[in-house]
């Protein structure tokens, strides 16, 4: 909760310093009296600390104020966009897990072979490509040239493919690298040798014995990245005209629409904290030693 208030305070301070939102609301010919009237109507003529205190008090009751531009409740505007962002974040995270984890396992098992080198190369590439450029290239090949998938929008499941893949590549690469390094460490452990000596099949050893013990860092990274995919996908959403939280926040920042920015930041931070708590809870299921307090 304290974290949430501090994040809001930082963003609130930044927004106040961006300038007077009233300047963006009124036509150039507006008089000082007109501006003062609008400032008073939105409470922008009150002291800064009062504004923040009043904001936090109202926010605690679910009222983030109304958008300066659409005059609709800010929280409603943000929550309306959340499903689209959640859909994109979950789809891209799923692609990253399904692609990255098996690649990492294969690279670890085939260490120092051409397969390993290819996976390392792919992982390096994934962490070096700007996702918005990848998005533009995917649009060029799959939407414009081959016309297999839509260029933008959110009309059907096929609209999700390109943005989800563009957003997933970085995480896929990271998961592949991380899985490889964790598996390399786990595969040298005594219990793996014991499992082999007992005649357990390679697949079972990799999944039930090795991967399970390598899961904790993978779950941590995936959890943190899910938060990023939700709120940090600003540019991918903009490139694909995806009606998500990122584009709403970007527009709101550029137009100094404080209530929408603050509602968005609060929702994102709350989600991020919830994801972290869920990840902590997941540790207990993955590794019973954590529940039992065994080091």
């Amino acid at each position: 909760m304290a974290a949430l208030v501090v994040v809001l305070l930082i963003v609130f301070a930044c927004l106040l310093a961006t300038g007077d939102p009233v300047e963006m609301l009124v036509p150039p010919e507006a008089t000082q009296a007109d501006k003062a009237k609008i400032r008073h109507a939105y409470g922008l003529d009150r002291p800064v600390l009062y504004q923040f205190g009043a904001f936090v008090w109202r926010a605690a009751q679910g009222d983030f104020g109304r958008s300066f531009f659409s005059d609709r409740p800010a929280l409603v505007l943000v929550l309306e966009r959340l499903p689209a962002s959640a859909e994109l974040a979950l789809a891209s995270t799923l692609i990253a897990i399904v692609g990255g984890v098996p690649l990492g396992i294969v690279a670890a098992v085939k260490r120092a072979t051409i397969v390993d080198q290819l996976v390392i190369g792919l992982a390096l590439l994934g962490q070096s490509v700007a996702s918005f450029w990848l998005a533009l290239m995917l649009i060029f090949f799959f939407a414009v040239t081959l016309q297999w998938l839509p260029v933008s929008g959110r009309e059907s499941w096929s609209s999700l493919v390109l943005p989800a893949f563009a957003l997933s590549f970085w995480l896929l690469a990271l998961l592949a690298r991380l899985t490889r390094s964790e598996m390399l460490e786990v595969l040298t452990q005594d219990y793996i040798r014991t499992a082999r000596a007992k005649g357990i099949g390679t697949g079972a050893i990799l999944v039930r014995h090795a991967l399970r013990n390598a899961l904790i860092p993978l779950v941590t990274v995936t959890g943190v990245s899910l938060g990023w995919q939700l709120g940090g996908a600003v540019v991918i959403e903009a490139v694909f005209a995806w009606p998500g939280l990122g584009t709403t926040l970007l527009e709101a920042v550029l137009r100094r629409d404080y209530p929408v920015v603050l509602a968005g930041v609060a929702v994102l931070s709350a989600l991020f904290i919830a994801i972290n708590l869920a990840v902590d809870a997941l540790y207990v299921y993955i590794d019973p030693r954590i529940r039992l307090g065994v080091s």
Binding site: V224, G246, R256
Partner: protein, 282 residues
Amino acid sequence: MKSPQLVSGAVIVIVFVTVGAFAPLLASHHYDDQDLSLSLKPPAWAGGDLAHPLGTDEFGRDTLSRLIYGARISLLVGLFSVVVAGFMGISIGVLAGYRGGQLDALCMGVADVQYSFPYILLAIIITAFWGAGLVNVILALGLASWMTFARAARASTLSVREGEYVLAARALGAGSTRIMMRHVLPNIMAPLIVFTTFQLPSRILAEATLSFVGLGIQPPVPSWGNMLSQSRGYLLAQPWLVALPGLALTVVALGVNQLGDGLRDRLDPRMKDHAVAGQRGG
């Protein structure tokens, strides 16, 4: 034993640094020399001519010259934003790790709070607050990402804080500042150098991201990000205009990542095969 990654990474980085440093000498045209009669020319291999080997943009400006000047901006922003974040983060991290107690809890609490927010979004908010431009982008990226350095520096400081040489310096009456500067910092620098290298590509990509949304380097000064932003409308007519700045961005980020991997294997061999990654940049 020479690491192929270290060599190829170093070659790529040296080439791009040289290109950026000597941009005015290497570029055949000024980045803003316009000739509308030559607009949207394709690269030489796709039907263009050698006067503009990589073609021209919608204003007839030479793409190769703009890419060369863009290298200067990308590397400059990447490097200095890492310096800003590194200076802030390492100072805070060493202080928090060495002092411990409430100061440590406070610093790491603030870092955790900032972690709870996608840093590119924070950089967008900060640049919206200060206005676009080279210095503001560097400061925004630095301020939005100091906490990664703080965490790494704190962890390293904790591991050397109780070292015998630190205890000996303390027994000899050395002050905290002297111990931190002369004994702690030099001993945590090797892993931090590796860590810093891994942060560089994400800052280069983050600058491109900011410029792409119009909050970074402002035209006509070229950055690979704003070149992509300006040319995306010509994806169909002249796809090379979009492909080339992105390729340059990818190659330089790849080079720095390879350099980071190579340096890690050389300076910290215990970490070989470990996945180290910078923050996401774009």
